[in-house]
């Protein structure tokens, strides 16, 4: 192969950070398929893995925006928990399922507004503000639920990411997974084909330049945290659907899985970089390792170590790729 072609490939790879994780996802799939041929490579198992990725996947969409902006949101797990509690509370109070779900998303969006306004007005680092918010929101969820799980009447919300009943096989995937796919396409389009999306990249790449170009930097930041938390609220709907109750203690540590998915997918915490497709692939990769590990009969602790190694290797490879492309 000529050096020109090699260079062109290196440049293409450096612009498409999702390629590496996707290759890893497929290679691991093949590996598990060979090692556990009876149970792993079945359509049912693939569907299960996709369903299990939905919560992290939807939250990772928002986190990708935040990471591209150069920020971070540690309060995602707490926001998901608060959303499940609010949904159960509203259902119990007699609200319809759609209204209850929207209520959860609205409360989550308010959490994002809280984060965004504090970050921009107090000029405190996002890490600190959202670390504080993580505690505040978790505490609010526990207070609202009186430190108990809140039972809710059975509605269609419970089936969003459940295995499809025999009569609904035409859907191929449960509604929640379709929602993830549609949202991913929408957020990706938002990033790449709208002014607001370019402004997010600009603020993350160089805030001074963004200001110089007349971009409303605080406005962009607040909007991104609101959108991100609203997406966490949607992830909360999926979490509620899986639990069928409101649980203020659920999704503890979820933010780290979400951040890991974004980082595996090519996001750098310095801002200005990140990929929606990459983040989804990153989330899938982590589910795949857990599921494959379980099928292989590996202990939980082994799976955790492997996931940790994958995160570090993914980011190290990403850096290497950047050096190759000379950027």
């Amino acid at each position: 192969m000529s050096t020109d072609a090699k260079h062109a490939i290196a440049r293409w790879l450096s612009r498409n950070s999702w390629v590496g994780p996707l290759v890893a996802l497929l290679v691991l799939y093949a590996l598990f398929a060979v090692m556990v041929p009876d149970t792993f490579p079945t359509a049912g198992n693939v569907r299960t893995m996709v369903r299990q990725t939905t919560v992290v996947g939807i939250a990772a969409l928002g986190m990708t925006l935040v990471v591209i902006l150069g920020g971070i949101d540690l309060s995602v797990g707490s926001t998901v928990a608060l959303a499940t509690v609010v949904i159960a509370y509203l259902l119990q109070a007699g609200a319809g399922p759609l209204a209850a779900a929207l209520g959860g998303v609205l409360i989550a969006a308010l959490c994002g507004l809280f984060n965004g306004v504090l970050i921009t007005s107090l000029r405190v680092m996002p890490f600190i503000v959202t670390l504080g918010a993580m505690g505040i929101i978790r505490g609010a969820a526990k207070g609202l639920a009186h430190e108990q799980k809140i039972d809710a009447p059975v509605t269609w919300l419970n089936n969003l990411i459940a295995e499809l009943p025999p009569g609904s096989k035409w859907q191929i995937l449960p509604a929640g997974v379709w929602l993830l796919i549609i949202l991913a396409l929408a957020v990706s389009a938002l990033l790449h084909y709208t002014r607001f999306g370019r402004h997010i990249f600009a603020v993350g790449s160089n805030e001074q330049t963004a200001r110089l170009c007349g971009i409303n930097v605080p406005g962009v930041k607040i909007a991104v945290y609101v959108i991100s938390s609203a997406l966490a609220g949607l992830a909360g709907i999926m979490q509620f659907s899986r639990l069928t109750v409101g649980d203020p203690t659920v999704a503890s540590g979820l933010e780290l899985d979400v951040i890991a998915a974004v980082v595996i997918g090519g996001g750098t915490l310095a801002g200005g970089e990140g990929s929606i497709l990459g983040a989804i692939v990153g989330a899938m990769l982590m589910t795949e390792i857990k599921t494959g590990g379980t099928h292989l009969g590996l202990s939980n602790w082994v799976q955790e170590i492997i996931t940790g190694v994958i995160i570090i290797v993914a980011v190290a490879l990403d850096r290497l790729r950047h050096r190759r492309a000379g950027t």
């Binding site: 050096t3 084909y193 002014r195 790449s205 160089n206 950027t327």
Partner: protein, 496 residues
């Protein structure tokens, strides 16, 4: 040529298909200041990376005092006595001056730093530069750039027996006063027998400080000689084949209506009092020393820094405004600090050019990438930005091309008033000439340009009127034809 301190023969280096160096010859004697000049892309930085140990040549040899010099890495090169002071300073901002000077080479006993000895050695290094006025316990990050640079040079003196000191664009952010002090230090080192390689775009400086010069063009040595008896225009011709008087293209400008007017403007610290009226079709220059408050004046007008008092009027709008409003009023600002402020380096050329005005590049809130690239390509072609295509990241471009991207943004926005802060700093002669031509064309098209520059030939060469700032106070604007470099300098230093 035996007896050279540093002797390079046939040095070549390729990066993939790109030939960076193609048979460079360079001979530098002990006790000599040797200027290395050439346009951006001529191969200066690759050559310096080879000398400082960051790269190895593909062919050719480098001899240091007769012995083959093949450093494994920059540390090894330093140990052999070849030290480089980079354009971007590399001090640890939180450590003290003394700690920085001996960083990595601290005198210790049983692992404990011997402070007295460290301070003595640091003091000695500063004394060699005649800069004992710099406090050893000051935090490096709190010091002005000019002082940080001296500390950096002191570091290379204190840490090894430096025989060759390489200075890369050392004056790019210094005032004239600091440049004179730096030159005095360089001469002291030269008289002690050090060889100094001085890389600069500023030929006046080469004339002032260098004994000999070597010109690089397209990766090869195209000329070398004694500075004495060689004129700047000779050197420029060797660098690019152009004449010096072609540098400042200039047509008669006819001023139109007043478009920017400010009176008694004061910022929080600087400026103190600045009044000026600028009309369409005019290029107005602001001279003065670094730190006089010129940058701050532009920033206050553009709304980046807060205003303390004064009034401003842009066309029919009166009053202060944020950058967003200013842009919509047709005022654009190009920052002196391309990397930290002017450009989003990780974004593409197209994004950087169109960032301030994405509206109109798609329906509603959308941006159609093809239209964005086409809009950007229009300006990058016109300014001859050298890039693969407009989707290339700005970080990968040379300094001159980055500056063109920053200016192209203002062209894309189609502003009427161009606030340009040191637009030609650190870019090569060819790109400078192109920018001068562009500024001239803007004035002809009825735009107004307010230019801050520390480079006097440029101020006098392209401005219609010049106003000089001294300690935050802006003097009256006078026609450039009535001024000389000497007059501007006298006013800038408060002697007029």
């Amino acid at each position: 040529m035996s007896g050279s301190r540093l002797h390079l023969t046939h040095v070549s280096k390729r990066f993939g298909p790109t030939v960076a160096l193609d048979g460079v010859h360079l001979a530098i004697a002990a006790g000599e200041v040797h200027a290395l000049v050439g346009e951006n892309g001529a191969g200066k930085s690759t050559l310096m990376k080879i000398l400082s140990g960051a790269l190895a040549p593909d062919q050719g040899e480098v001899r240091l005092d007769g012995a083959l010099f093949r450093p494994r890495d920059p540390l090894d090169a330093r140990r052999h006595g070849v030290a480089m002071v980079y354009q971007e300073l590399s001090l640890a901002p939180h450590l003290s001056v003394a700690e920085n000077i001996l960083l990595g080479a601290e005198p210790t006993r049983a692992g404990v730093v011997r402070r007295k000895e460290r301070d003595a050695r640091a003091r000695h290094a500063l004394a060699e530069l005649d800069r004992t006025d710099i406090p050893l316990d000051a935090r490096a990050g709190d010091l002005p750039i000019a002082v940080q640079q001296v500390v950096e040079i002191a570091r290379s003196l204190a840490q090894s027996d430096t025989r060759v000191l390489i200075l890369d664009e050392p004056t790019s952010s210094l005032s004239d006063h600091d440049v004179r002090r730096l030159f005095a230090a360089i001469r002291r080192l030269r008289d002690r027998g050090l060889s100094i390689i001085y890389i600069s775009h500023v030929l006046e400086e080469v004339q002032a400080i260098a004994d000999r010069f070597t010109v690089l063009r397209d990766g090869a040595t195209v000329g070398t000689g004694a500075v004495e008896g060689t004129s700047s225009s000779d050197i420029v011709r060797q660098m690019s084949g152009r004449q010096l008087d072609e540098l400042f293209p200039r047509s008669p400008h006819t001023p139109g209506e007043t478009i920017l007017e400010f009176a008694d403007v004061a910022g929080i610290v600087k400026p103190d009092a600045a009044s000026l009226t600028i009309r369409r079709g005019e290029v107005v220059g602001i001279g003065g020393l670094v730190g006089a408050g010129r940058t701050e004046l532009l920033r206050v007008i553009f709304g980046l820094d807060p205003v303390r008092k004064g009034s401003v009027r842009v066309a029919s709008w009166t009053g202060w405004a944020a950058p967003r409003r200013r842009l919509s009023q047709g005022v654009g600002f190009a920052s002196e600090d391309r990397k930290a402020e002017g450009l989003a380096l990780a974004m593409s050329v197209a994004d950087n050019i169109t960032l301030s005005k994405l509206a109109g590049l798609g329906p509603g809130p959308f941006v159609v990438p093809a239209r964005q690239r086409a809009a950007a390509a229009r300006w990058s072609d016109r300014l001859r930005v050298r890039c693969h295509d407009t989707s290339q990241k700005v970080r990968e471009l040379s300094g001159g091309n980055q500056q063109k991207v920053a200016i192209a943004r203002l062209l894309h926005h189609d502003v009427d008033v161009y606030l340009l802060d040191e637009p030609t700093r650190g870019i090569d002669v060819g790109s400078k000439t192109e920018l001068y031509g562009l500024i001239d064309k803007l004035a002809l098209a009825g735009k107004a340009v307010l230019l801050v520059s520390s480079y006097l030939p440029e101020l006098l060469g392209i401005c219609d009127r010049i106003s000089v700032m001294h300690r935050g106070r802006l003097g009256p604007a006078r026609p450039a034809c009535e001024l000389t470099e000497h007059a501007v300098l006298m006013e800038a230093t408060g002697q007029a």
